[in-house]
């Protein structure tokens, strides 16, 4: 199909239908891209704040025990479920991003996602992992849309609709990256 051609009426209808069918996915995907962008853009400030919190804290910070049995002091929240924490071992401070995830039926995971003695590197590792998650999500979403179109419009060429959807979500990730690059440029902890 020539993608410079004007979409047919049916392709336009299919595009609207796909947008509706995957509205929840798109909402959550865009919200996650925004959240990663915020953390990327503010990583220097977040790292500074976490470092200060760890230096100044004594016993007043909330304690979090992770599933591996280690105990951490909460420094700041990155999202509703992930936070930057620290612990002191042999006179050194170790930082970690800890995720607390409540699962049905009534179980909770408390896991160390990234750890290290340099809070900025810990944050960078966390952001790198988040980018992988977004890429995995994007691939799966594209596959779901293609499957949806193939089932709903059998034998019809809907590649223009699938490509247009893919472009939109690829752009959401790219914008996150470009924004983060411009925000973090020249900043140091």
């Amino acid at each position: 199909m020539n993608h410079h051609q004007k979409p047919t009426v049916q392709q336009e209808q299919a595009a609207v239908e796909v947008k509706t069918a995957f509205a929840e996915h798109l909402n959550q995907f865009n919200a996650s891209c925004d959240a990663v962008r915020d953390i990327e853009g503010n990583q220097s400030a977040i790292a500074n704040d976490a470092f200060k919190s760890a230096l100044l804290s004594r016993d007043q910070n909330k304690t979090i025990q992770t599933d591996d049995g280690t105990e951490w002091r909460h420094d700041l929240d990155l999202s509703k479920i992930s936070s930057v924490c620290h612990r002191r071992i042999a006179g050194q401070i170790e930082f970690a991003v800890v995720e607390s995830l409540s699962l049905k039926p009534g179980t909770e995971m408390k896991e160390v996602l990234n750890r290290g003695d340099n809070v900025r590197e810990v944050l960078q590792g966390f952001i790198r992992d988040q980018r992988q998650v977004l890429r995995l999500w994007k691939e799966d979403l594209n596959a779901q849309v293609k499957e949806h179109l193939a089932e709903k419009y059998p034998g019809q060429d809907m590649s223009l609709v699938a490509d247009s959807f893919e472009y939109k979500i690829t752009q959401a990730i790219s914008e996150t990256y470009v924004h983060a690059q411009s925000q973090s440029h020249g900043m140091r902890v």
């Binding site: 929840e24 996915h25 959550q28 995907f29 996650s32 599933d67 479920i81 995720e99 995830l101 409540s102 699962l103 049905k104 039926p105 179980t107 909770e108 995971m109 896991e111 996602l113 992992d129 992988q132 998650v133 995995l136 999500w137 691939e139 799966d140 594209n142 596959a143 779901q144 293609k146 499957e147 193939a150």
Partner: protein
């Protein structure tokens, strides 16, 4: 014939347990958002397989394993 006295079998068959679930279904079952499901897959906490067109599916056993292990 004895068969005349047997009750007619009209009961509906028991629901068939699904072998695998989509991301949306898994998220709903675990009570978490889509992002968290993809995060669990990315970290290797949930193993996913790909269907014919590349869509991710999570087996029922994997979901049960995750809930039981916590």
């Amino acid at each position: 014939m004895a068969i005349d006295n047997e009750p007619t079998q009209t009961a509906t068959p028991p629901p068939v347990e699904r072998l695998a679930y989509s991301i949306e279904e898994a998220a709903q079952m675990l009570g978490i958002n889509y992002h968290s499901i993809y995060r669990l897959i990315q970290r290797g906490k949930l193993k996913a397989c790909r269907a014919l067109r590349g869509k991710l599916l999570i087996s029922r056993d994997e979901l049960l394993k995750l809930v039981k292990s916590e």
